[in-house]
Symmetry: C2
Subunit: 267 residues, 2 copies
């Protein structure tokens, strides 16, 4: 058994999304909570089907072959297949009904802001229109978040941002550690907004930023030193200047979009 799984693992490369999803169980305790490389079978199936749907291999409205047939084709038990389907169903990608089969839902039902779905979306060739949408969302949310953060931040928030900035300086965005620090910085800002809904968006936006940043790096060398932009945001938040914080963040997002756009075109 497990021949089927092993087959995928050759087909489906181990992307960062997995590591992203598994790690930082509790960022404070490094030795505790071993972050196993343990891949669950149904997780792998969900990943495979998820990327297939996101990439358009299965279009909305398509009906997947029956449980038995598909499970057999994938060389896994129906239980594993069904659990994978439940995951996709929970994320709004598919819906199953007796006799009718399992069909791919229309795109607007997809939970595109789910970090895992976002990872699947970027597993293949990312849709440039979708990337634009994400940056537009960033351009809306992050300046507003910076504004709130400037009004509500406390010492701990500022310390978190400062540490993240230092880490960004040490490593660069070409390394995973550097990108993690970048995420930490934006995350610290959202944390400082004292707003749970915004904080949840952070997971999504953070994932999106990570993907696009990585994508950006893939195309060519670092086009610009992003540190000064971040420092300006930090200074404004530290000074409690809401308008300046929003403006500085606005500039930062615009520049990031510019870089990403040119990188994608150059490809």
């Amino acid at each position: 058994m497990w021949e089927g799984l092993l087959r995928f693992l050759r087909e489906v490369p181990i992307t960062v999304s997995e590591a992203n999803f598994v790690n930082d169980e509790e960022s404070a305790r490094p030795a505790d909570e071993a972050r196993g490389p343990g891949r669950r079978l149904h997780g792998a199936i969900a990943h495979k089907l998820g990327t297939a749907i996101l990439s358009g291999k299965y279009a909305p409205g398509d009906i997947l072959s029956g449980e038995v047939a598909f499970a057999e084709e994938l060389q896994v038990s129906r239980s594993a297949y069904r659990e994978a389907i439940q995951v996709l169903s929970a994320k709004g990608l598919v819906a199953s009904r007796p006799k009718a089969g399992t069909r791919v839902l229309p795109r607007e039902r997809w939970n595109l802001l789910d970090p895992e779905v976002l990872g699947w979306a970027f597993a293949g060739e990312p849709d440039i229109e979708f990337v634009r949408s994400l940056f537009e969302l960033r351009a809306i949310v992050e300046p507003a978040a910076a504004r709130l953060a400037a009004q509500r931040r406390d010492k701990n928030d500022l310390k978190a941002m400062k540490d993240a900035l230092a880490a960004m300086r040490r490593h660069t965005l070409t390394t995973e550690a550097g990108r993690a620090a970048d995420r930490d910085f934006h995350n610290a800002i959202l944390q400082a907004t004292r707003n749970d809904a915004l904080l949840v968006l952070s997971a999504s936006i953070g994932a999106a930023v990570n993907w696009t940043t990585q994508f950006k790096q893939r195309a060519r060398a670092l086009p610009r030193n992003p540190i000064p932009d971040h420092v300006r945001v930090y200074d404004a938040i530290a000074a409690g200047d809401a308008a300046a914080a929003a403006e500085a963040m606005n500039v930062l997002v615009d520049l990031a979009l510019e870089d990403t756009r040119s990188a994608m075109e150059k490809k």
Copy 2:
């Protein structure tokens, strides 16, 4: 068998969240696609556990009793219980690992923007701080969306908004049809932004608006006629006046927050 499920259905009232999740497979075809009252067992379990977690009955870090024990307690098979857990896991509420058990994840991992999770959050007593967060998010996103809509809308978008407004006038917000029309209006605006990421937020924000609106009505009679506010937004978008659209939407959200806040305090 099924005695267990029947037990829940008495415990867990049929909330709107279910209907919300199941219906409008395709809003155009009313007779087609029967929106069955068919409740899946694992869905009911997920609902039960989801509300329990969201209400704080299980705190982050808590470990659920083992699969066999819990499944037996719920009078369902392990398969059904496992599928429910996969759903919760997909939404970031819990994580399971061999030997370690299934533990509730910290709150920041929860996918609070998932429409179903949002429904669970509002199934019990909604946390006023969380409601404030949601309105703050609305206050950030919707005016920006209105701005984009004013720049990009076409005739069809305007027609959709107009129809929704008419429906809102016919029914009132005290009826489900009226609330649906309200959602349609906001949805039409987000659709007009030509932004997938924003459109996805519509599902979440729409759900949140629905819950809070319903909550508002529960407390006392309609405190204000919301139609004029909506009309102002529509007029600005139709005129292509981005700044006015953003401002009108800003006012609308502020008023809605005000109404909801006073309703919650009065309770």
